[in-house]
Symmetry: C2
Subunit: 246 residues, 2 copies
């Protein structure tokens, strides 16, 4: 495992938390991505540099393990490291620690570059990837797929709003978590805590699209609950995710 490690601190703010005073999943992901953005900027390969080459980073998958969710007013430390890359993918790890140095969250992510004009995946140029000092390994990393939703599905509809769109003109990754979580019941969300999240982005969603957030739930023998989610527009699957709750 190689790659420069970058570290950033963050105070968990009131508006970043849900009704349980726990940091929300969208905000946690936002802060993680902000941290890797800072690293890229400091290494001279920030968004502007990448955009000038006609390219843009997109995230294809997050796999997150939770010891516990950070809470309101905590000072957390986020570390990030590009572990390895191949022709098309870059694998990056994030860790979130509390002020005692205890690990709260680990996230393994898969990044790719897209051509900003045709929105297709592009080969990763050396000049973009070199500064991270990640290891080149031509073998693809096998990542587990999110669980599939079963027949007993609850579905809720959402329309993509103006403030869901970021400057890449597509829906910010963090918004998918909002749609997925909101399809669950209030009582469930206030009585369960995140244990494991696996999300895979398939196709971009755009402004004005009507999306359907579907969810099915399975109670497991060890008392944990598995929810499987699907974000779709018509027949198209835009995103699949599964969450283990404790």
């Amino acid at each position: 495992m190689s790659g420069k490690i970058y570290e950033s601190r963050h105070l968990v703010k009131y508006y970043e938390c849900d009704t349980n005073k726990k940091m929300t999943l969208p905000m946690l992901v936002n802060i993680m991505i902000h941290t890797s953005g800072e690293q890229s900027h400091l290494l001279g390969v920030g968004d502007d540099f990448v955009n000038e080459m006609g390219l843009s980073w997109v995230i294809l998958q997050y796999e997150m393990k939770f010891n516990r969710v950070p809470e309101f007013a905590e000072e957390i430390t986020i570390t990030t490291q590009a572990l390895s890359y191949n022709k098309l993918f870059c694998y990056r790890e994030f860790k979130v620690y509390d002020s005692n140095g205890e690990e709260c969250v680990t996230a393994k992510t898969t990044f790719a570059l897209i051509d900003m004009v045709n929105r297709k995946m592009a080969r990763i140029p050396e000049e973009i990837i070199m500064p991270y000092e990640a290891e080149f390994n031509k073998k693809l990393v096998r990542t587990p797929k999110p669980e599939k939703v079963d027949e007993k599905v609850t579905s809720t509809e959402y329309r993509v709003r103006f403030l869901d769109i970021d400057r890449n003109q597509h829906v910010n990754n963090s918004k998918y978590f909002d749609w997925a979580l909101d399809a669950l019941e209030y009582d469930f969300l206030t009585s369960h805590e995140l244990n494991y999240v696996n999300i895979k982005f398939e196709k971009e969603v755009h402004y004005g699209n009507m999306i359907t957030s579907s969810v099915s739930m399975t109670e497991l023998e060890d008392g944990k609950v598995l929810t499987a989610h699907k974000i779709t527009t018509g027949e198209t699957v835009n995103c699949e995710l599964s969450i283990m709750w404790k």
Copy 2:
């Protein structure tokens, strides 16, 4: 004008910005309120202290003037000061400066305390207000009302989501801006900038409520555009706001 001034710095992050790379109104308001929360905490009268007395601060009105909207990657400074108070209201000012010390935004706000059980307004106790060193003035400050929506109204419906709720079990103030702005067209929002915002909160909105966001638009002689907004649940007006755009 009295009252201790508190100052805080903030880096404008990617996920706090819209597709124009400008800081969103919800995020600007979140950061302002975070800053006053920090001041209260440092003065020993933070949310926990107030909550232990069975009370909670609510915001009744924001009146905001914009020279310009802060942009992605800017380091801004937020100052806040409790200017004066009376039996029921506290008047607080916020200012946002850029790194050159230029004033970007000024906001005048009206705070009140509510009893957390009956959700009614409560008299402001001396021990909560004294540390701010604001001036007592028994006269109410007259604040301008938002413009009323006229007959030519466009309406959009929204359902209050789980992540719209904060730990006070009501909808976070910043979410009203999301509903109000989203009722405007994409092309309008990407071609106009905020000049003046006046928002008045009337009645709380709760989880699961279906809200209607209505808007009417008036083009003014000086080239500016006035939009008048109303957030309603059934016959109840929850919030009125008007925005001047340039």
